[in-house]
Structure formats: C-alpha cells, structure tokens
Subunit: 148 residues, 2 copies
C-alpha cells in the first residue's frame, strides 16, 4: 500500500466510524423528519451517506444512469446502515488499492482514478456534516469527536 | 506535479470556489446569527472555513498552542473572506507540491504529510457543508452546485 492510499484509508476510516456513531443515535421517530425544508429527510441523508462510497466508485467506472437507478432503488433500512457503510468502505479500500479504470460519468464528468478516490472521500465528509447538523437541529446531544 | 497532487488540488479547488460563492451570499444582518443553538455563528463558520487550509498545515508542522492562538486572533472581516481563502489555498498548494515535514500536533496527534493534506481537504468540505446548511436554514435561495 502506498502512503497516499494509507492516508486516504485513515481519513475515510474516521469518516466511516463517526458516521456509524451518528447512525446509532438516530431515533425511529426522526427518520422521516426534514430539519431543513426542501432538503432530504434524516433517513434519506443517512442512507445516502451509507452507500455513497460504493455509488461514487460505480459512477467512476462509467456506470449508466439505469445501473445507478437500480443501485439506488435497493432499499436500506435504519438497521442496515452500519453494515452498508462497512461494505461500501470495504469496496472503496479494494478499488483504491487494486486500482480501477476511470471512465467518464454518464453525464460527462471526467476524472482520474485518484481524483475519484478523493471525490468519494469529500462527498462522505459533506453528508456526514449534514447529518450531524440535522441531529443538532433536532436537539440531539452528540458527544462525538468528528476529527481526530 | 504527481497525479495525487493534481487530484487533490482539483477537489480542494472545487471546495474553495464553492465556498467563495457561499461567502458572497452572506448578508450583513446574518453574520452574527446562530442557526443551530450552541454552535458557531454564521460569521464564525465562514472565517473558520476561510483560514482552515492554512491553519491545518501549521498544525501539521507542529505549531504550538500559542502560535495557533496568535494565528486565530487575527481578525477576518466579511470582506476579507474571499482573499483569505485564496491565500490559504495558495499556501496549501505550495506546501503540497514542495513538501513539508509533518510533526506531532501540540495535543499529540501524529499523521504523515499526505495524511495532513487529506485531513485539511475533508475539514474544508465539512465546514462548507455546515455553512451551506446554515444559509439554507436561514432561508437563502442557493443555486450552487457543490460537486461537479
């Protein structure tokens, strides 16, 4: 493993671990809440966060709009969040360390394999932050260190 | 420049450009608003976002608590946000491409140079997301694409 790969896995790992800590806090009654009007619900953000490492690397390999629609159509329940983000992180690590061929996305964005590895990482931190904000808006007491 | 460096600069660049687009939207009357009780104000998040690429790489080089206190004590006004984040991004690119010696932080966290380059990047996306949420809570109409 190269030093760059190790560095990414460390920080994606922190993102995954802390996302799981947030998932555990979500109360059933808040799953369909929409703390910011017009934006995703709590459940929608949590599911998106749980699968995005996997989804983004499918996009990176040129998955079609239909393939992505099928991927997103698979339901993820509150109980499956933790297992799904673990799976996504496993796939991320495998693809990062063994390499893959990056292809333009179905809407035409072109990036390198390394670019996609970073894109997926910042995407994770973006929605982890959103979920954290949501739970704070809803009045949760979160004693979670988001960074080391 | 290596492919990893190019990939990071591309995605930090997207984060900086879109942060500046958010900075431009902030209305004077909202600077001291605190959209999530107990959390930073709009102005505090914006200033933190504008300087963090610079701050994190000072920490990465082992800056003392006193040095960091002095760094953060320098006031940043609403009008200076854009210029400050540009400066921070310039420093980030210089340090990333010429390299630096990573030292343990004053509270004892140890990471590699590459690890710090990634940490600063995800930190940027974390607070960009927070500022985006804040402005949405305050009712701003933001037609900004946060990702490519």
């Amino acid at each position: 493993m190269t030093d760059w790969e190790r560095a990414l896995i460390r920080h994606v790992g922190v993102g995954v671990k802390t996302s799981k800590a947030l998932f555990e806090k979500i109360e059933v009654k808040d799953w369909d809440e929409r703390p910011i009007p017009g934006k995703r619900t709590v459940g929608e953000v949590a599911v998106h966060l749980a699968v995005l490492l996997e989804a983004d690397l499918l996009l990176a390999e040129g998955a079609t709009a239909e393939a992505m629609q099928a991927f997103y159509a698979e339901p993820v329940t509150r109980d499956q969040l933790s297992e799904r983000i673990d799976r996504a992180f496993r796939i991320y690590q495998e693809k990062l360390t063994t390499g893959f061929v990056a292809r333009p996305t179905y809407w035409g964005v072109d990036d390198s394999m390394n670019g996609w590895a970073i894109e997926a990482t910042v995407h994770l931190y973006h929605h982890r932050s959103q979920l954290f904000d949501y739970l704070n808006i809803l009045g949760y007491e979160l004693e979670i260190s988001l960074f080391e």
